[in-house]
C-alpha cells in the first residue's frame, strides 16, 4: 500500500538519505533499526512531509506524489490518512488528553463534537488512559503522555501509523506500558512503521525489519530471518553488540 522509490534528502552537504526504496504492505509492522545518525528518523519525517525530500516518489495506495514537489494540499491530504507518534510525545500543552485527541477530528476533519468525543474516548480506552481524559499533559507521566499521543494518532483510523522512537525518552517501566499498547495495535492488524531501538519489539511484534546505516537500507527481511540469519556483515555486527549486552 506504500511504495517509496529513490527517496533522497540532504542537510547542507550531508547526504542523510541516499536513494531509499521501501515497500509496505497492508498489515505490515515494519521495525526500522540502525545506529543513531543512520537516517531512520529523517526517513520517517520525510514520509509524513515534516522534512522536505530532495527527490523521490511515493505511491500511497493509488495516490502518487513527487516527494520533492509535494504541495501543501497533497501533504495535508496524505497526513490525514496517517498517524504520527513522536519521540517527545508533542501533546498540545494547552489541551487536555481528550482535547488532544478530538482537536484533529473537530478542527481538521470537521467532525461534530459529540461524535469526535465518542471516538476519542474509545481511543483513550484502547491505550488505557480513559481515566485521565481531563488531565493536561503537564499532569501526566511520560508513558501516559505517549499513550495519549498514540490515541491521538489512531483516532482517525489511519491507514498507516508512523512511530518515531516512541519509547526512547522513557524509563524501562514506562517503555513497557507504551510497548504493550503498540503490541496490541500490531495484533489488530494495523499497518505500522516503527523506528526503534527496542530489539524485543522488533523481533516479536514486527513482521519485517529494515536495517539502515549511513542513509541506505543495508538489509531488509522478515523479522524472523533478520534475527536468526542476518546476511550482511554490518547487520551481524550490529546484532552482535546487542547479544553481548544480553539484550537479545
Amino acid at each position: 500500500m506504500l511504495q517509496i522509490r529513490n527517496l533522497r534528502k540532504s542537510f547542507g552537504d550531508l547526504q542523510v538519505l541516499k536513494s531509499i526504496d521501501l515497500d509496505v504492505n497492508k498489515g505490515d509492522v515494519v521495525a526500522i533499526l540502525g545506529p543513531s545518525g543512520s537516517g531512520k528518523t529523517t526517513m520517517l519525517r520525510c514520509l509524513n512531509f515534516l522534512e522536505k525530500s530532495d527527490g523521490g516518489t511515493m505511491l500511497f495506495d493509488d495516490q502518487r506524489v513527487d516527494l520533492a514537489r509535494v504541495t501543501h494540499a497533497e501533504a495535508n491530504a496524505l497526513r490525514r490518512r496517517t498517524g504520527f507518534v513522536f519521540q517527545s510525545y508533542n501533546l498540545f500543552a494547552n489541551k487536555t488528553a481528550l482535547q488532544n485527541v478530538t482537536e484533529g477530528l473537530i478542527i481538521a476533519r470537521k467532525m461534530p463534537r459529540r461524535r469526535a468525543e465518542e471516538i476519542a474516548r474509545a481511543a483513550l480506552v484502547k491505550v488505557g488512559m480513559d481515566d485521565r481524559a481531563d488531565y493536561y499533559p503537564s499532569q501526566l507521566s511520560g508513558g501516559q503522555q505517549q499513550r495519549v499521543a498514540i490515541a491521538r494518532a489512531i483516532a482517525a483510523d489511519p491507514e498507516i501509523i508512523y512511530f518515531d522512537e516512541p519509547t526512547s525518552a522513557l524509563d524501562p517501566e514506562l517503555t513497557g506500558e507504551v510497548l504493550a499498547v503498540m503490541r496490541s495495535l500490531a495484533g489488530e492488524g494495523r499497518t505500522m512503521l516503527v523506528v526503534t531501538h527496542e530489539m524485543d519489539f522488533a523481533r516479536h511484534a514486527a513482521n519485517r525489519v529494515v536495517f539502515m546505516e549511513q542513509g541506505v537500507i543495508v538489509e531488509q527481511n522478515t523479522a524472523e530471518a533478520f534475527f536468526n540469519d542476518p546476511q550482511q556483515p554490518r547487520t551481524k555486527e550490529f546484532l552482535q553488540t546487542y547479544k553481548q549486552r544480553s539484550l537479545l
Partner: protein, 224 residues
Amino acid sequence: MSERLWGILVDSFGKILLPGLTVTIPLTAISFTLALIIAVAVALVQFAHVPVLQRLARFYIWVIRGTPVLVQLFVVFYGLPGVGILIEPFPAAVLVFSINEGAYCAETIRAALESVPKGQMEAGQCVGMSYLQIIRRIILPQALRTAFPTLASTLIAMVKDTSLAANITVTEMFMTTQRIVARTYEPLALYIEVGLVYLLFCTVLTRLQAVGERYLNSKGAQRS
C-alpha cells in the same frame, strides 16, 4: 501635619481619584486593548515570515521603540494639525499609546511565539490541521500564556505613562493634581498623594496578574 494641609489632602483625594477613574483607567484600558491587537498582528506576520509585511513590522518597531513616547504625543497632537489633521486630546493619546505599546508588546509576543516548541506545530500538521488552525488554536494560546507576565508589566507601566498625556491637555489625574497644586501651593503632599493613587491602581493590577497566572496554570498551560 497642619489641619489645613490635611483638609486639602482629604478634599483633593476625590478630585484626583475621579479623573483617575474616568480618564486614566479608560485611556489605559482602550489603549492597551488596541496595543494587544496591533501586537498580535505584528508578531504573527514576523513569526509566519509574511513577505513585505514582515519588513513593515520591523520598520514599525524600529521607529516606535527608537523615539520617546513624549515626542510621539507632541508630533500627533501639536504637529499633525500643521498638515490639517486635528485630533482631540483623548483620541490622540489613545492613538499614540496604543501604537507605542503595540511595538513593545509585539516583541514580547514574538519572543513567546518562538519559544513554543517546534513539536507543537508538527503535531498539529500530523493530525491534518492547517497552518492557521495550528497558530490560532495551539501556538498562540501557549505563547500568550508565556507572554502574560511581561504583558502585565507593560500594562502596569502604561497606567503610569498615561500621566504624560497631561502634556497634550488630557485632564487626567496628574494634570488635575497640577491644577490643585497651583491653587494650594502644597506640591510635596499633593504629588505624593497622586503617586499613592497610581500605586493603588497598580497594586490592584498586580493582584489581578497573580489571579490571572493562577487561572492559566490551572488550564495546564505550564509546560512539563
